[in-house]
């Protein structure tokens, strides 16, 4: 009964940095199904879909759409052929309205020159109603919560006539509540005859919504299965290649001296909006303070002021008993601050320099590595080799450019650099985002080791599993304020946490965030 709409045969894609992202994958899609593309970060799921969407051109392989072989050279061609893609990072213009975003590039025209805004609104409303999307098309995109932004992306694809819809990790940025809503919407789309490719590494979600699943590991296809016939344990084994141990061995917390004290912190953004709105907390040596929250609720601004990258704040931050404004970034780092940045490519490395150059930017000036003028290159080389071994960085040698490594290995270089200075405070902002499970669990293990050794850690993450697993205390940030604080992390329910993240629930009494007045 099922009709094959798409076949991708023996696809191979090698990236310009020599990474073989997709080795020899065959993928098949039946009309009207929700098909999961399952794999770890870095398994090649997104790459395979980029090939389908015309963003990347494959080395080998063929794509057969509705029985004819096609050569998709650009996203424009893919859209014409009825393929739509919703990227993990939204491709929307924040300052335009929902309607304007939906019709962008294919606007209805007045006098064949000007955009017919009335018509645009009408058409957008029409399509939103057709698919039962509740959204005000006149609203500006920048004012929408993440869940709605995603809906705009989906509508955009539908407006362009997408029969096959690719969703790249759609739930990664959503709260549990928003995820549920998305799933209802997807089922409706399916009923209307759309075919959906659902990229994910979350097994329970796949169980819930998908008909079939194609599993990828290390750029290779591990087969396609009926979701109802395969257990999550089997799926996870195929995906990772071994049984995954997700539990970490954590000793009971042993609090030591207070290393950071923050009172009434406020940060005003460039547009005059309060990004951080009266935060107070204490951090002690020997604990991990988790900060959960939907992205863009002030986490970035908080990290900037805590790490010395910005001193535009009101309120008080004291680090090791000294006012934070008295430190330069170098002094802050020298006194024991380490910082794993959210975006490793813009802040965390210089991609056109080699691994060695990237490993010592925070410590080359120490007597161990340099004299008054010259660098001690022998010492640096030895230490680089040591760190590559210790942090399991997969590379040819320390002379390889960082940009040639995979995301997980770049992150390991960043972490190796930050952790090799024997830090006393670690600020880890999304330390495992977008990297494979192996590297992620390695980094988490390290964070726990540092905590056990008496280091104070602030862990900011959008990954609920991560903050729940690692944190000793957990605070939820919503619109620049803490909406809830949990001292007993083990007893938190994810759905409950979701309510705090969305601002549905908020506690006025933030007990446990401050140790002493």
């Amino acid at each position: 009964m099922s009709q094959i709409v798409l076949q991708m045969n023996n696809i191979m894609k090698i990236y310009p940095n020599g990474v073989v992202a997709v080795e020899d994958v065959t993928f098949e899609l039946e009309k009207g199904e929700i098909h999961a593309l399952l794999g770890e970060n870095g398994a090649g799921k997104s790459t395979l879909m980029k090939v389908l969407f015309g963003i990347e051109s494959p080395e080998n392989g063929e794509i057969i759409l509705e029985g004819t072989k096609v050569d998709i050279k650009s996203p424009l061609e893919a859209i014409k052929k009825g393929i739509g893609m919703v990227h993990q990072h939204f491709m929307l213009v924040p300052s335009l309205t929902v309607a304007e975003n939906i019709v962008l590039g294919v606007e209805p025209k007045k006098n064949s020159l000007f955009t017919d805004e009335e018509k645009a609104i009408e058409l957008s409303k029409e399509i939103a109603e057709k698919y039962n999307f509740e959204i005000d098309v006149r609203e500006k995109v920048e004012e929408l919560p993440v869940g709605l932004k995603q809906k705009v992306e989906i509508l955009k694809a539908l407006y362009r006539g997408a029969d096959i819809l690719i969703l790249d990790e759609p739930t990664a940025v959503l709260t549990p509540q928003e995820t549920k809503e998305l799933f209802i919407q997807l089922k409706k789309l399916k009923e209307k005859g759309h075919t959906i490719i659902f990229i994910s590494h979350k097994l329970d979600e796949i169980k819930e919504i998908c008909d079939r699943a194609t599993i990828m590991r290390n750029g290779k296809g591990m087969g396609t299965y009926q979701v109802k016939d395969i257990s999550t344990a089997e799926m996870s084994k195929l995906m990772v290649g071994r049984d995954v141990v997700m539990e970490f061995d954590k000793k009971p917390v042993q609090l030591k001296e207070t290393v950071m004290r923050v009172r009434d912190l406020c940060v005003t953004g460039t547009t005059g909006i309060r990004r951080i709105d009266g935060l107070s907390f204490d951090l002690k040596a020997g604990e991990i303070l988790g900060i959960a929250g939907v992205e863009g609720n002030g986490q970035g601004h908080l990290v900037e002021v805590l790490t010395g990258l910005s001193d535009k704040y009101q309120g008080e931050i004291s680090i090791f008993g000294k006012n934070a404004k008295e430190y330069s970034i170098r002094e802050l780092r020298d006194s024991g601050m380490a910082h794993i940045p959210e975006d490793r490519m813009t802040l965390g490395c210089a991609k056109d320099m080699n691994i060695l150059d990237n490993m010592f930017t925070n410590q080359y000036h120490k007597p161990e590595f340099s004299g008054r003028v010259l660098l001690k290159n022998k010492k640096l080389e030895e230490k680089a080799k040591e760190l590559i071994k210790e942090y399991l960085v997969k590379c040819k040698s320390y002379k390889q450019n960082v940009g040639m490594l995979s995301g997980g290995n770049i992150q390991k270089v960043v972490v190796a650099r930050e952790f090799s200075t024997d830090p006393k405070i670690i600020i880890a902002n999304q330390p495992t985002r977008g990297i494979d499970v192996g590297a992620a669990s390695f980094i988490r293990q390290r964070i726990i080791e540092f905590r056990d050794a008496g280091c104070a850690i602030i862990l900011i993450s959008a990954d609920l599993n991560e903050v729940l697993e690692l944190s000793d205390r957990l605070a939820v940030i919503y619109k620049g304020k803490f909406s809830g604080v949990f001292s007993n992390v083990k007893n938190i329910e994810e759905v409950e946490l979701g309510k705090y993240m969305l601002g549905i629930k908020r506690d006025d009494n933030l007990e446990g965030i401050i140790y002493e007045q």
Binding site: P16, E23, M353, Y364, L374, N377
Partner: protein, 355 residues
Amino acid sequence: MNSNTKFNILRTGLSISIALLISFGIIFLTSKEPVNAIVQLLTGPLQSQRRFGNVIEAMIPLIFTGVGVSIMFAANEINLAGEGAFHLGGLVATYFALNTTLAAGISPIMTILIAGIAGAIVTLIPAILKIKTESDVLVSSLMMNYLVLYFANYILSNILRDPKAGAVVSFAVPSVTQLSTIMPGTRIHIGLFLALIVAILGYIFMFKTKIGYELRITGENRQFARYSGINVVKITLISQLLGGFIFGVGGGVELLGMYNRFTWTSLLGYGWDAIIITTLAKKNPIHVPFAAFFLAYLRTGASIMARSTDVATELVTITQGLIILLVVAEQFLSKYKHKMIAKEAKATLGEKEGE
């Protein structure tokens, strides 16, 4: 040597070859004696000691300016005031030499150092303006060059001018200050050694010192440098200062070695040449002498060609332009590069499976 270095050498080599071939094409289209012209262009500089001497003489200032601009550009600042720094270096060297009486050995050294300081001030001004007022370095440094030119013209015609000379030129620099010739039959002077030392020191500075390391990181990713605790403002200023100093030294050396009077009434173009050099040398000072030799050879060949045939020197300007166009075109040969990488990756895959 990794595949990337190999590829870069191949690409630069191919760029030069293609540019030369196109130039030959133009010669064939326009000249009545194309074969002779090409032979003169390519082998002319080797035909006599004097001509080869011309190549080396032309190479000396190109090395200074190439190293200077490599250091300035390493901070990712497109500071073009090197031109003015070189010019002012020459002027200040003349002024200092005419107004002091120092011992034979010390006089040229002091003169060159003072010229360097003058150069450093010229390139530092646009950098400071950027920090203080956020003005674009590219624009302010270009304007700086005209400021220097007309300042120099004023000083030349009002203070340094030798009224007995037929043209607008300065008094002759005392012979104790002039740089001595090291090869009879040519004008190759002691500045050659100085230039080579500067290239080596430039390399050591960039790749072996702490400041060089800070400079390279700042240039590659300023935000990353700041995040790491590097004082990016200080580093940028140091690099502009040092680059300008080397330009100024270059101007001083050129004046003391090749001219005995200050005769520069228009900009000489060394700032632009420096960009060609640093592009070919990929911002590495140790590669600069090779790039400088190449450019000097090409130009000497061109002027020999122009003298002995009907092809004008300007032809080489076209060749230069083509080379730069091809070298900086990131996408040139990118398909080939991708194939090379894909092949390498496939080979490693094969190895793994063969284990």
